[in-house]
């Protein structure tokens, strides 16, 4: 029993220790940039990597997710008492509130997160970060800040695209299977649309973007060792980001809905 309490206690201390380091890492990024232009260039490059680089996967996920949700809702609500536009309103609402932001960002945690962590981790173990420090450059600011800003700009854009396309997927599936027409779908979607829901989706997207980019940068930056540890950091980045996303998902729903 004592042993178990001890283990839990150390795990907890470890967590707070790591969390403290994470906060310090984020605060350490902010110093006067050496050359603003260089940072803007890097941010644009990262926007391309994160945004354009993830577009294909986001498109595929969004369309299928909308289509599948439509079929599934239709299957579950099969009854002459329920009017067909209800399906459209349920699909569009659940896409906006939960599926588009959360599923998209969980996938991005895997794709963008592992990429960020392994890129920065490799730079750490091959002493490239030390080289930056010796030059007098704030390495965390130089490496992580452009990624974080790029993520905060591009991930919400991807989420908006995803919301749009999951509705398109829903309409397509409805038409293709003959369950409901696009007019019926849109009628339902319009009837239940609340601007607040879109705002909520964007709040989620920003939160997740911050989580993915900062958690992954942190794990990459604190890598010690060699190639093996870079792999481990990249896995950790994905797992921790995903858990943090789900946790904050619940918290945001509790606070804002």
């Amino acid at each position: 029993m004592k042993k178990i309490v001890g283990l839990i206690f150390t795990a907890e201390m470890n967590f707070f220790n790591q969390f403290g380091k994470y906060v310090l890492f984020i605060m350490g990024m902010f110093s006067k940039p050496e050359k603003l232009g260089v940072y803007i260039d890097r941010t644009i490059t990262e926007m391309n990597n994160i945004g354009i680089g993830s577009l294909a996967i986001v498109v595929i996920i969004a369309v299928f997710q909308g289509a599948v949700t439509t079929l599934q809702i239709a299957y579950q609500l099969i009854s002459p008492l329920i009017s067909k536009p209800v399906i459209g309103s349920i699909v569009s609402d659940s896409s906006m509130l939960e599926l588009a932001p959360t599923i998209t960002c969980l996938v991005l945690a895997g794709k963008v997160g592992s990429h960020i962590a392994s890129e920065i981790g490799t730079m750490r173990v091959s002493e490239q970060i030390d080289a930056l420090e010796v030059m007098g450059i704030n390495s965390s600011g130089y490496l992580a800040l452009p990624k974080i800003i790029a993520g905060l700009i591009m991930i919400p854009c991807l989420v908006i695209i995803s919301i749009f396309l999951s509705n398109a997927g829903g309409i397509l599936a409805g038409e293709a299977s003959g369950i409901l027409t696009s007019e019926e779908y849109l009628q339902g979607a319009r009837a239940s649309f609340l601007p607040y829901n879109l705002f909520f989706a964007l709040i989620k997207a920003f939160t997740y973007a911050f989580i993915i980019t900062t958690v992954s940068s942190f794990h990459g930056y604190t890598t010690r060792g060699g190639a093996l540890e870079v792999g481990a950091s990249s896995t950790k980045a994905v797992v921790y980001s995903a858990v943090a996303i789900l946790f904050s998902d619940y918290l945001l729903a509790q606070l804002l809905l």
Binding site: T122, S126, G136
Partner: protein
């Protein structure tokens, strides 16, 4: 000139550096020798600020590096160039972008001026014409030379090299040695080189410090090294083939 005053460094309970005092003169090739694991790399990291000494100070021409504010620290760092053991070239950037890096970050040079400077530095290390290659496309020896070019891109005053010729063939090693010697003399910089290679010591060394178990066991001129009368140093030199 760089001065070390009573540098101690511990990791946890283990004391790696046990009070090192040393002076590194301007315009000279200063060598740090010693067996593997006795603290040469840690000492260099303490000097360039990658590790913080547990106590003691590192003084760059009357500036106490270990106790400077961030802003002043950055000024000193612009005067430091370092060649890492694994070269640490930025592998997402081309050779040209690597050498250009500090110029872009810290100077207001125009692109044309930067290009000239990059070409000049690559010529210094005898590597012209590889501007557009990536580090993954050039050999280990070429990487070391590009690493030196990157280190000297700004007008530096201090050059640190951690084992510049480890993993290189004897011919390339000698070339790198000669290069470091000529750069040191031509630009009047303070060069500090960590090495195991006694040939380097006798070829290009001016002053030597011998690190043993975290202490500065012996220091002096290269010409006195064989007649030091220090038992441990004598054994170290005898273990290499040059005696």
């Amino acid at each position: 000139m760089i001065e070390l005053k009573d540098i101690h460094k511990s990791f946890g309970d283990v004391e790696i550096l046990k009070g090192i005092n040393a002076k590194f003169e301007t315009g000279k090739v200063n060598l740090v020798i010693g067996s593997s694991g006795h603290g040469k790399s840690i000492m260099m990291k303490c000097m360039v600020g990658l590790e913080t000494p547990t106590s003691g100070s590192v003084i760059y021409d009357n500036r106490d590096f270990t106790h400077l504010e961030y802003r002043q620290l950055r000024e000193v760092r612009k005067e430091i160039g370092m060649l890492f053991q694994g070269t640490a070239l930025f592998d997402s950037l081309t050779v040209e972008q690597n050498v250009e890096f500090t110029l872009k970050m810290f100077t207001n040079m125009t692109p044309a001026e930067r290009k000239d400077r990059v070409d000049f530095c690559l010529e210094q290390v005898d590597m012209p014409g590889i501007n557009q290659k990536f580090p993954s496309e050039i050999s280990g020896g070429m990487k070391k030379r590009v690493g030196i070019a990157r280190a000297i891109a700004l007008d530096i005053k201090y050059l640190f090299c951690d084992e510049p010729n480890s993993g290189l063939d004897p011919v390339t090693s000698r070339l790198i040695d000669e290069l470091l010697k000529s750069i040191t003399e031509e630009f009047k910089i303070t060069t500090i080189i960590n090495t195991h290679d006694m040939k380097t010591v006798f070829d290009i060394g001016d002053d030597v410090i011998f690190i043993y178990e975290g202490n500065n066991e012996w220091s002096g001129k290269v010409k006195d090294i064989k007649t030091s009368g220090n038992e441990i140093l004598t054994r170290f030199i005898e273990a290499s083939q040059f005696h």
